[in-house]
Symmetry: C2
Subunit: 116 residues, 2 copies
């Protein structure tokens, strides 16, 4: 567990990172899309539409749309589950991994610059 973080520092961190995300010209994702993307890249597979919808407490079409959008952006892919062809597996992509990695670096950098 990292050292203590004060609320004012936490807010400053959130502000700075959000700020970087907004200012960057890469297409900005909604909170839901961010949550989906990070879940796929941080939690162990497999990830299905149903599972993501239940976990995030949103409807299935919302997940389908988020996957459409982020698929168009190349951040992840879909693949049918051959074992049970009703299921769709959400898979990672190289480009998505890079984007997530960039986000991690941004957070670390902003965290490092936090004032005492």
């Amino acid at each position: 567990m990292p050292a203590e973080l004060r609320p004012s520092q936490a807010l400053r961190l959130w502000h700075d990172v959000t700020f970087d995300l907004v200012r960057s010209d890469q297409p900005d994702l909604s909170s839901r899309q961010q949550a989906v993307l990070l879940t796929v890249y941080l939690e162990p597979p497999p990830h299905t539409v149903r599972g993501l919808a239940r976990k995030l407490n949103v409807t299935k079409p919302a997940i389908t749309r988020a996957l459409d959008t982020m698929g168009r952006l190349g951040l992840l892919t879909r693949r049918r589950d051959e074992a049970d062809r009703r299921n769709v597996m959400v898979q990672r992509t190289l480009e998505g991994a890079l984007a997530v990695e960039r986000l991690g670096d941004t957070i670390v950098a902003r965290h490092r610059k936090l004032p005492l």
Copy 2:
């Protein structure tokens, strides 16, 4: 400056907090709206539409709309600058301060629970 934060921890933190924001039933703000809200509450006043637009690298109408939406939610208010009536000052509200405070608490709580 807080202790070092590893990229994997940073991403986990971002995921967890975003997750909480998405799951909570309070209306979710876009990244831009979050950036505006946090700027107003963290940076010293005064805050004008023009200034926020320039700082966030977005157009003025985008700021106007963000203020409309968040004003409707009670998160902040507008007031004309009496010294120069062309300007609009963006002001904090009690409700907005509470929302920001809650966000800070969420981040701190999620940060505290990060695995080594």
